[in-house]
Symmetry: C2
Subunit: 330 residues, 2 copies
């Protein structure tokens, strides 16, 4: 099948760009040094590519991502880098057959993990992003409680997500270092071999973590690309022009095909005017015709991918593979 | 099952509020006077409720919505209120067994509909929203081309979507009237019995249309609720607190559970600080505990619903039905 034959809107991955991104990360952070985060693509076929270039372990944000990776035979070393007290989901994770480590940051999450039969945990530490994670000074206590409950504590985790808005590289390095100093303090109290942290925008700055939880690098998006220029956007939504008016044109790619939290998408050769449920109104630089195709580059890949059932991998104009986005939902 | 037993994040519909919203619209715009737009809920079980209160016809934005309604036995009179030149999808619509009318606004869309075996069309007219629709003065020509191609032209359609940002009711009425004056001019040139227009925010203002394409009224959202006070929000995302820190708490409902184009959601008794992929960081007015439930009210229902596989209908604390969101995708 040809790219032009795909029904639209279609989520399209440029195969060679994806391969280049995966190779770049595998060279910079080989093997276990990168624990790819699947929340960015929610696709076991893409995770398999990441395993093939040398990364045995994966990071997940949801129980379904963990269970889907396990079912796909990618369960060598999975990290649920998120808190949950859902007893049924924790029990399913405990018996899924994969090695799964779960993040904990409180008595409640420790107790829920232990009660469900989870065996290994990381203590999640607040390193400056107002989200999950216990205060660094509480990490030792959480670890002790986990060990008392029979859990193996592999180490610590801390996501320095506050850097994702720091565009200056030196400043980002400094903020990362401050965050990792907090994580180091927690690690001293907790022990264990694993220090899991990082992101695509700090993969080459975070020298303290033993493993980098990078996700966006594989497909990239227009919001993060300037901060990680070694990786190029590999994912767009292919859309069809369905209406042309004097001054604007409309394509069949709207709010239900695009994550919008980082703002509207970009379109080569056109200015984006309005995004509505199933429409993208653009002002093209040159005249377009009904039936013509355009490439719509999402500002944020993760919530974009979550809207789509599948992604089409292309090499040039050829569709070479279709990958189900099989880790959607919870 | 109880509301508290649902795994989270869960899309929840308050049954009595939904019923009240449906009854209010059925009283104001009975029978064919309202052609409910299913893009707002993407759920055939909810569409069936709309049929049960008296609306025989439906509006759809995608081929999949049309085909899903037809397969569910709700195909008495369907309108694809959107342009497409997708030959395969138009052919599937033509042979789906339902009565389907398709919007056209150009030679290309007329020709595609005729070639695929579509029988009935509406001429879509630009009434002031920069989106689809031919200029009013071109509508007669488009209709003539459709008739020459063997298509039955049932009338005109024009969406006065520019009013969705006009909060003052009198001003909204005036803008609606201007828009409908354009549609009337087109209708004079096109002929036919159908004048399809309107929205939840103009259902009681648009007196020119023969049928109102209201969608949001069934579930409502915090963005439109102030403009249509007869309808109350009936849909929230049930979430669980997974982490509590000094100054904030985190729930398991993020960007992949919420349409964000109208801004962040609202939470009763808390201020929303950050929304990330699978997390909602809030500042609660009173202390919360890990494991506690909160209700997250989306700012925009349509792209929120499109993220979820199902919606749970509750009456009080009882889950009385589970409805698959079965019209997702394209």
């Amino acid at each position: 099948m040809k790219l032009g034959d795909l029904a639209t809107p279609a989520l399209v991955v440029d195969g060679p760009t994806l391969d280049a991104n995966l190779a770049t990360m595998a060279a910079a952070c080989p093997g276990t040094r990168c624990r790819p985060h699947v929340k960015a693509h929610k696709t076991t076929a893409l995770a398999r590519r990441q395993a093939e270039v040398g990364h045995p372990g994966f990071t997940a944000a949801t129980a379904r991502e963990v269970l889907g990776l396990a079912a796909a035979g990618l369960g060598t070393d999975l990290l649920l880098a998120n808190e949950t007290v859902d007893a049924a989901r924790l029990a399913a994770i405990a018996r899924c057959g994969a090695r799964v480590t779960v993040a904990v940051d409180s008595d409640a999450t420790v107790d829920a993990a232990a009660a469900a039969g989870i065996r290994e945990v990381l203590v999640d530490v607040d390193v400056g992003l107002p989200r999950c994670g216990c205060p660094p000074d509480d990490a030792g206590r959480v670890a002790a409680r986990a060990r008392a409950a029979g859990l193996e504590v592999r180490g610590v985790m801390g996501y320095e997500g506050q850097v994702t808005i720091v565009t200056d590289r030196d400043e980002r390095a400094a903020v990362t270092e401050q965050a990792m100093a907090l994580l180091a303090r927690a690690h001293d109290a907790v022990g264990g071999d694993v220090v899991s942290a990082g992101a695509t925008v700090t993969y080459d700055l975070n020298t303290y973590a033993t493993e980098i939880q990078a996700g966006s690098y594989a497909l990239m998006d227009s919001a993060f690309a300037p901060m990680a220029p070694a990786f190029r956007p590999a994912l767009w939504v292919e859309a069809t022009i369905i209406s042309v008016s004097p001054g604007w044109a409309v394509a069949d790619c709207g709010l239900k095909a695009l994550g919008m939290d980082h703002g509207p998408p970009t379109v080569d050769g056109a200015r984006v005017l309005v995004v509505s449920d199933e429409h993208l109104t653009i002002r093209p630089d040159a005249p377009v015709r009904v039936g013509e195709r355009i490439r719509v580059w999402p500002a944020h890949v993760d919530p974009t991918v979550a809207y789509h059932e599948r992604m089409e991998v292309v090499v040039g104009e050829e569709v070479v593979e279709t990958w189900p986005v099989d880790l959607r939902g919870w």
